[in-house]
């Protein structure tokens, strides 16, 4: 295992974010893994709620502008 790989295993959040290194270096491997797991879960949750809101928002737009809005948002 090379050095970068070893560091990633010990501090996966540092591997993911890169900065602020001085702070991320202070995390234990367990804390780093926990935070990265939470970050990834939050990303998925944000994406899902955003997609749902875009769909719901389109439904309440006036019919006249709905096709153009859909094209801008989803390219179709």
């Amino acid at each position: 295992m090379d050095k970068a790989e070893a560091q990633g295993a010990d501090n996966p959040l540092l591997d993911e974010l890169g900065q602020p290194r001085a702070v991320l270096d202070k995390l234990t491997p367990e804390e780093s893994a926990l935070l990265l797991g939470l970050l990834r879960k939050a990303k998925v949750a944000h994406q899902r709620s955003l997609n749902e809101s875009l769909d719901d928002g389109l439904k309440v737009l006036p019919r006249l502008i709905r096709p153009a809005a859909r094209k801008i948002l989803f390219g179709r």
């Binding site: 602020p20 991320l24 935070l35 719901d56 309440v60």
Partner: protein, 298 residues
């Protein structure tokens, strides 16, 4: 016990990651500044992930007039999502932002406020008119969301701070928001806008209110300029009724703000300081603090 600012940063990080602050309690040791840097980095990563979608939403602007944006948002977009999207889109269409925000209900704005990208707040907060922000700020204080209020106050202009101070009658709210503001200059501005009478009123509210309010005020007073702190400190530690002073000291011990009280007592005039030093409760507190200094760190 971690200090107030550290606990506040931990709560913000936990809220960002949609978890309970207790799950992150080991991070208290990092302190407020490191936690803030960590939260900012994680927040940036979350918002950057969605930047492309935000940009596409922004392209809808020419199609959708302000009234329609307001209607669609309040009918179909949860405030949490509106807060996240609205920051980025509002920044790209600054000329439209005030028009849209003016149409949204204060409750909706207060619901959305915690989710705004922290990088957007410094650009936005100074540009928004007080008459638009004050109803939402009152709503945040009504629901005791001082953390979110403090994130916006942090970047308020002097004029906005004066307007807030005049419009917001909630002394506890001002104290509990003010103590969470990490920029000392802003805290000075708040207390300068408050003036001596309001400052004394805040001290009275803290004495009769919950211990956490008194602890917050002591912490706040310790971080601002001595001449701004003096009236309230005198009302608390230089009070003519020694039972009141003893109560203040007891709360300081219980709520973990002993160091703050010892430091802030320096702003008292000589007579008040001598009276304080003669109190048994004060001597007890100073002995306790001295014993900590001699403790060997674990």
């Amino acid at each position: 016990m971690a200090d107030i600012l550290t606990r506040a940063q931990l709560s913000l990080l936990a809220a960002l990651l949609q978890t309970d602050a207790a799950n992150l309690s080991s991070l208290e040791r990092l302190g407020a500044d490191d936690l803030k840097a960590l939260r900012n980095a994680m927040s940036d990563a979350l918002f950057d992930e969605q930047a492309e979608v935000f940009a596409r939403v922004g392209k809808l602007a020419p199609l959708v007039p302000n009234a329609l944006v307001v209607n669609v948002a309040q009918r179909a977009v949860p405030p949490e999502v509106a807060g996240r999207v609205g920051g980025a889109v509002g920044l790209a269409h600054g000329d439209r932002a005030i028009g849209v925000l003016s149409g949204l209900k204060p409750v909706y704005l207060a619901d959305a406020a915690p989710y705004v990208d922290p990088r957007v707040i410094p650009h936005f907060a100074p540009r928004l008119p007080a008459k638009l922000l004050i109803p939402a700020a009152k709503e945040l204080l009504r629901r005791r969301d001082y953390l979110t209020a403090s994130r916006f106050v942090e970047f308020a202009t002097d004029e906005l701070i004066v307007a807030f101070e005049r419009a917001i009658d909630d002394d506890e709210g001002i104290i509990l928001t003010g103590v969470l503001v990490s920029d000392t200059k802003v805290m000075n501005d708040i207390m300068r806008a408050a003036g001596t009478d309001r400052s004394l009123r805040m001290a009275r509210a803290a004495i009769t209110g919950k211990p956490e309010v008194l602890a917050a005020l002591l912490s706040l007073l310790n971080r601002i300029e001595p001449e701004l702190a003096r009236p309230a400190v005198t009302a608390l530690l230089g009070h003519s009724d020694t039972d009141v002073v003893a109560y203040v000291l007891e709360v300081a011990g219980r709520e973990g703000v002993v160091v703050e009280v010892l430091e802030v007592s320096a702003v008292l005039d000589g007579e008040a300081r001598a009276r304080l030093a003669s109190l048994e409760a004060w001597q007890h507190l100073t002995r306790e603090a001295e014993s900590w200094e001699h403790e060997t760190p674990a």
